[in-house]
Each structure stands twice: as structure tokens, then as C-alpha cells.
Symmetry: C2
Subunit: 472 residues, 2 copies
């Protein structure tokens, strides 16, 4: 346990209500929004970069371990304390003061504690948004630490692509503040240091302020369900859509029959709009969108989508078995309900994988053959962002099975899935959730020795103090 | 001069014709395509990553300085040897074997020695291209070392955004080969090391192989000259165009009257299509494009552009004084001839600056007031990529003036322009040409101490050997 004097000293470094120590108030910081639970020594809630710097300097000098925490919505134990009760949580949740919109530059300079939903609520009147589309509602600092992508990556890219600048506090004895907070879109005057802090789980420094790129809000969109003629036709279909719809294409999401069935069975608000209620083996949700209001002389978005689909339908490649344009709200409701539906089937073991786009269906086919043999109790309920190579490869075991209560089962399963994903298919074991405590062993296993050595060297020259949940 | 034994040893490490030492053959490697001239000890032209590794290891062990060189088309002395005759040039120009196209992934894995034009010539039959649009014809390795942007950055981004993976040889005693050659679009499993080698002039390692993102070739486009009502109307005009044309908008290039006049006066193939031949004070070249072939039911691109311009014309902001849609080829010919035209006016001193978009016109106005007082012999011929904040701030002195032959003049001018661009307007002194020997002093001057210290630390843990033209 921590010495009382340290607590007193740290309390003095953060403004009013900046230290949380009673058990009921701490609970929200000890438990992840979706997974994880640990125990914190106490929680610090600084309000400014200067306070973060003072706290970090004190902790480094006194060898006190800090875990930066943002929205705490991740899946890989990247922001919860461990079970020891010795780690101090540094929450960004009060870093929500600065919010400076630059309309000409189409950029926003803001403190790192804002939630995604609050950012977009404030931007909406200006016809702008921060274009990372997620099911969860993280805070910005955590989005940077994980480099999230989301459902419209295909059009807008990930957090990295939309980050212009950062202010970062390093975990050294000075609590050095790095001002990497350029608002510039082009600037090649040395190492682009901000890149080091994106997607690295907060272990190299604590992001306190950001400048992000904004995009115009879509004013028109159209969506369709596309049923590929077979798994092998998914890529020809994607290529045909990209050719015929170009920058209009804003989502190309794959959904397996198991995932769709679970959602339709367990989420009562959903409507089964498939022909005769028959759910296809695999279905794509495609979306096109554009930023301007409808013009009289222009084809509607529905008509644009229908024209492109008619061309694809008549092409020699014949990648489509079926397709229908339908209401965006209804189609996205199904897509967004997949996670919830799958959870009703049993205990969910989630994998956030990515592949070269052409390998996604091959990986899923491979696993459909292998998993029933190695893990017969498992149901595969995959879905994902086919357009950018991401797969939410979700596996479910019945809640009353021996596997669900076997503490080793999940580890064996992860070892198995990752070995095939990474070794056989050259994929990634973490597409958009970064490393975290949960993936530490896989980072150690799958990162080449030379790269691990460099990372350790980088850690030593940036933030030698104990920071975050990952050992680089 | 170098010892003969070193030359013999290095010659044995590169395949046939891999060492160039006679003066006439070396000349092409000693002189930049547009600027610079130095003297090399000799030139090595390896053909594989393994050869690069062997060469680098030998040079580091024997403290021989290496300058990696790609297309040598840069503006900042980033790839030419200095005047000492002791630096060894390592050219990528024979690294042109591997060229593996992945159509499903819309990506290309290739050796770093390919020229941009050759890459796009090979991709054209597939309806794809590497979307960096430049006047020069660099090789890929150098494009990565400078993180070039170009005229269509607004739509496609820079080299960084389009780089999926790299293979890099570090300048350490082992000639360590880093395989950062993921083909993945999403992968957050630790530090994204490739970022360190993008835009850093080859000083942290030599890029030998790359995986890049490709885009679909445009099949339809339309262009217009837009004359803003005043300099203050340029940003409202850009915002209105982004709102009404969204992802169609692929270029928004500004051209000053001086630059346009110089091109029209000195490049005979150009046509003056401005009304009555009167060149506006400032004119924007806007382009929209899309990837599919024309469809009967759809508005033509010219009509789309005209609709948007009509809406802008009638809007309350009234940012337009004049606008006319015209042939893309003719309009781009003028844009691409600006550099050549300006050179006819005298000795060109080129600046590659960037700003927040809203500061571009303010900077130019400020300089139009300041420069005539401080440097009366100068003509300002600016043009640039307004859509992404880039300005080619070109200054010309008469060839027969005292300034043109005064060796200190250029330095005084650079100091003056950079002090205002960087200190007053928080801009960048190198938007898309990186640092190079030419900008070393400004890197030293304008980079915060903490950041320079980190860069020196990074250099020590990656490539401690003498590599490149920049001291980080």
C-alpha cells in the first residue's frame, strides 16, 4: 500500500476534488466499461497539462506506478489498474476545458478528456464531425492511445490519419511537456514525434491536448445489403464497388449468418427484412454518402447506388447473389446490434484481428474448419470491417459449459487463434485496440527481437517511469 | 580521400557495376536534378536489401559516411554529397526488381528504387495509381524520406498516409534489417516504427522496400478557375467548395498574378484564357474527379461543378468575383508551368512553407508589405496548395543584380522569411521537402530543445553511424 505522505503530496498537486480515494467513487475507475476489473491505490483527476506534469514528475521521482485512463471502454486491459492495489490511476475525465474550433483549417484543438459523443454534439451545428465511427463512447486520449478505426475507416481512415498535433507529458523526473501541437497538415521538419504516442497504450507518454482533423457531415446517404455469390466473391464485389462508387463508399461491413441470427433473435427492436426471413450465410452492409444537400438535377443517392449495383449485377464476374437498397437507419441498427446479440448466446471471447483484405474470408473459412475440431463447444459469430481488413472474430461458449468456467480455456483459445491469424495469415492480433495487459504476452511473442529492443530503447529515452499497462 | 582497400572491399559487396568511380559516371549522382552539387568519394548501387545491409555494416564499422540517394530531385540538399569528396553515395537506382501488386488489398509491395512515373505506368492498366501528384519524378525511397504531398494532397493525403509498410536497413554495425513490411491497413500492436523513417531524410535508416496504398484512377474530372472577391474570400470559398463538393474535390491550388504572368509570358505553349487576357490578382484552380465511367442518368462532372459554383455565386458570403469551368488539360498546363515561368524572371529562391489554411493569405499579404522594404530587389511569385496549407513562396531576384551574386543574400533572405513564417505565423519551414543540409540551421534553431534531445537519442538507438545529410 502507498504511504500516506505520497497521497497528501499528490492531492496538493491537483485541483479541488482531484483525488478520489473512497471505494465507491473509485469503482468506476477500477472496472472497464466492457471488461476488466482491478484495484487502484487511488485516482487522480488533473485538469490541466501543468497538473499532469507535476503529478507525473512526482510519481517518477518516487517510483510510483501510474496508469493513464481515458474513457476506459477498451477491450485489452489497457487502462484499468491491475489487482495489486498499488497502481495510481490518472484519469483524463476532467480535461475538458479547451475546445477551439478552427473552421478555416477544418481542425479542432481540444483537451484530451472529451468524449467522442460530446465532440460530435458540439461540432454538429457547424456541419462537421470527427470521423471515427464507433459503437463505444471513448474519450479522445484513449482513442489516440489505441488508434481506433471504426466502421467508416474505409473513407476517413483511423485516428492517426486524423491527428494533426498532440501535447504529451513524458514520464521522466521533470514531467517534460512535449509540445507537438502543430495545427499544420503538412510539416516535415524532423521526426514526427506524435506518431510514437498514437496506438501505444499510453506507455510512452500521456496525451493531454490534441489537434484533430474534422470532416464535413454527410447530408445524403444510401445503404444496401449485398449477398455475395460465395465467400470467394466478396473481394471481387468490394473491388467492383470501389471502382463504381469511389470516394462515395463509406462502409463495407461483413456480417456472418450466426452473428445476424443472434441479433435478430435477441434484440427485439430489430426487423428481419431479408427475403422470406431467410438470413444469408454472409451479408455485406454497404453505405455511400456525400456532404451536400440534394440538388434537383442530380441523381438521388439511392439511384446512384442502384445504378452501380445494376452494373455489378450484369458484369461477367457475377459477384452478387442478391442485393437490396434499404433504409440506412434499419440496416445500421442491425449492424450495431451484432455485439449485443452475440452476447446472448453465451460467454463472448472477442478477437479484434486484421488481415490483408484478400485473406479475410480465407481466414474465416480456415477457422470454420479448424475450430470445431479443436474447440467443439464454440460458435463462431464473426463480423467486421471488410473494406479495411478488420475482423471482429467473436467466439462464444455456452455459459453452462465447462469451458466457460475453465480459467485456462480462454488462454488456450487465444493462443490457437492468434497463432493462425499471425503466423499463417500474417495478420494482426490487435487491429484497433492496441496492446494492453491482455495482449502483452502476444506482443512479446510476435514482435521481432530487433523491434522489441528498439521499443525498449525508445521507452528509456521518452518515459523511463512506470506508466501504463504495457511493458515495451 | 578514402583508402583503396575500403573501395575494394565495398565493391565486393555489391553486384556487377555496383560501384561507380569515374568522374563522368559519378556526375549524375553528385548534382541534384534541380539544385546542389557536391563531390562523392564514389557511388555504390546495391540491388538488394542484403547488399544494402552488407554495405552499411561495413561503412559503420569503418566510420565511412554514407549519403543515401534516391531520385535526387529534392530542393534541400537531402541526397547530394557535400563538397568534401569523402562521402559515399548509396544510390537506390538499381533497386527496381520487386513489384508485387495485390489487387484485393489495393496495395503494392515494391523495391524503393522505382520512379513515380514508372510505378504509375505499370499500374495504369489496372485502373490504379499511387496518388501522389508531383511535378518532379522522384524515386519511391526519396518520396518516403521527404514525405511528399503534391497537388492532390487535399483528396489523397501525403506519402505517410499512403505507406502501409517498409523494410529499412539501420546504420549500425550489423546493418540490421527491420522488417516493418506489413500489408495491413489496421495494425496497432506496438510502436508504428515505419513512421520514424518517413519524412526524416534517410538519417535514421535506408528504406529498401515499401508497401503502399493505391487508389482508383479518376475516370471523370472537371476543372475551373475561380477568382476570389478578395484575399479574405479565399477561405470562405474553400469552405463552400468542401461543403458542396465533398470528396469530389481533388485540388484547390492558388496562383498569384506574378506567377501566372511569368508563365504566360515565357512558356509559349500556354494559352491566356482569362477574360480579355486580364490576369486576376489571385486565381484558384479547382478540380473535382470521380473514379467511374460516365453514366447516362448522372449529371456530368462539368454540370456538377457548375451547380456548386452557381450555389456559391448566389450565397450571401459572395466569395467569388468570377469563375469559369474549362478544359482540365489547359488549366493544369498553366499550373504546372508556373515554376518554369518564374525561373525566367531571374534567380529563383524557393520556399516550401505551410500554414494553418486560414493563415496563408494573411502571411502572403504580410510579406507583400514587408519584403519590398527589406529586400526591394525581390519579386514575389507565390503559388501553392491552398487546400492543405502549403505555399510555394517563390522569390526572384534579377540575374544581374548585386543580390544574385552576393553569397550572403540568400541566407539573409531565408532567415527573414522563416522568422516570419515560423515565429509569427506558427508555420512550417519545410512542408514537403524535409530537412536536408540546406535546412539544418533552421532545424537547429526552431526545434524545441526537448524534441532535439529526443531525436538525438533516437538516432543513437537506431542508426548511430554517419548516414544522410542531416544531423539529428
Amino acid at each position: 500500500m502507498l504511504d500516506q505522505p505520497h497521497k497528501v503530496a499528490l492531492k496538493a498537486l491537483v485541483s479541488d476534488k482531484g483525488l478520489v480515494e473512497n471505494a465507491s467513487d473509485m469503482a468506476a475507475y477500477e472496472k472497464g466499461a466492457r471488461y476488466d476489473e482491478g484495484r487502484a491505490a487511488f485516482v487522480l483527476r488533473p485538469q490541466t497539462t501543468e497538473e499532469v506534469s507535476a503529478v507525473v514528475a512526482y510519481c517518477v521521482k518516487n517510483s510510483l506506478p501510474l496508469v493513464p485512463q481515458s474513457g476506459n471502454t477498451g477491450l485489452v486491459s489497457g487502462s484499468t489498474p491491475d489487482a495489486s492495489g498499488t497502481q495510481i490511476v490518472l484519469s483524463l475525465d476532467r480535461m475538458t476545458k479547451r475546445f477551439d474550433l478552427d473552421l478555416d483549417n477544418r481542425s479542432l484543438r481540444l483537451d484530451a478528456g472529451f468524449t467522442l459523443s460530446e465532440i460530435n454534439r458540439r461540432l454538429e451545428p457547424h456541419g462537421l464531425f470527427f470521423p471515427i465511427d464507433l459503437g463505444a463512447d471513448p474519450r479522445l486520449g484513449g482513442m489516440i492511445a489505441t488508434n481506433t478505426g471504426g466502421s467508416r475507416f474505409l473513407k476517413y481512415g483511423d485516428v492517426r490519419r486524423n491527428t494533426l498535433g498532440l501535447t504529451v507529458v513524458l514520464a521522466d523526473e521533470a514531467g517534460t511537456v512535449l509540445d507537438l501541437n502543430s495545427d499544420l497538415r503538412k510539416n516535415n521538419t524532423g521526426v514526427d514525434w506524435k506518431q510514437i504516442f498514437i496506438g501505444t497504450s499510453g506507455s510512452f507518454g500521456i496525451v493531454t491536448e490534441c489537434v484533430v482533423n474534422l470532416e464535413r457531415l454527410p447530408r445524403q446517404m444510401a445503404t444496401a445489403y449485398l449477398v455475395p455469390a460465395s465467400g470467394a466473391h466478396v473481394m471481387p464485389l468490394l473491388r467492383a464497388m470501389e471502382e463504381r462508387l469511389g470516394a462515395y463508399l463509406s462502409a463495407f461491413e461483413g456480417m456472418s449468418k450466426n452473428a445476424v441470427s443472434a441479433a435478430l433473435a435477441h434484440v427485439p427492436s430489430l426487423k428481419n427484412s431479408f427475403q422470406g426471413g431467410n438470413i444469408p450465410d454472409y451479408v455485406i452492409l454497404a453505405e455511400i454518402s456525400r456532404t451536400w444537400e440534394p440538388r434537383e438535377a442530380e441523381q438521388s443517392m439511392d439511384a446512384v447506388l442502384e445504378s452501380a449495383l445494376a452494373e455489378i449485377w450484369e458484369s461477367d464476374a457475377a459477384p452478387l447473389a442478391d442485393a437490396f437498397v434499404g433504409p440506412a437507419h434499419e440496416m445500421w441498427s442491425l449492424r450495431h446490434a451484432l455485439s449485443e446479440g452475440v452476447k446472448h448466446l453465451g460467454k463472448l471471447i472477442a478477437f479484434d484481428l486484421s488481415f490483408r483484405r484478400g485473406d479475410i474470408m480465407a481466414f474465416c473459412d480456415h477457422m470454420k474448419a479448424e475450430i470445431p475440431q479443436a474447440f467443439p463447444e464454440i460458435t463462431i459469430c464473426d463480423f467486421g470491417h471488410i473494406g479495411d481488413g478488420g475482423v471482429h472474430f467473436n467466439l462464444v461458449v455456452p455459459k453452462d459449459s465447462a469451458a466457460a468456467s475453465d480459467p485456462d480455456f480462454e488462454k488456450r483459445l487465444r493462443d490457437f487463434v492468434f497463432s493462425i491469424a499471425v503466423e499463417k495469415f500474417k495478420g494482426s492480433f490487435s487491429a484497433e485496440h492496441a496492446v494492453g495487459r491482455k495482449n502483452q504476452a502476444y506482443y512479446d511473442q510476435y514482435t521481432p527481437h530487433a523491434v522489441r529492443t528498439l521499443a525498449a530503447g525508445l521507452k528509456a529515452i521518452t518515459s523511463p517511469g512506470a506508466l501504463g499497462t504495457v511493458r515495451f
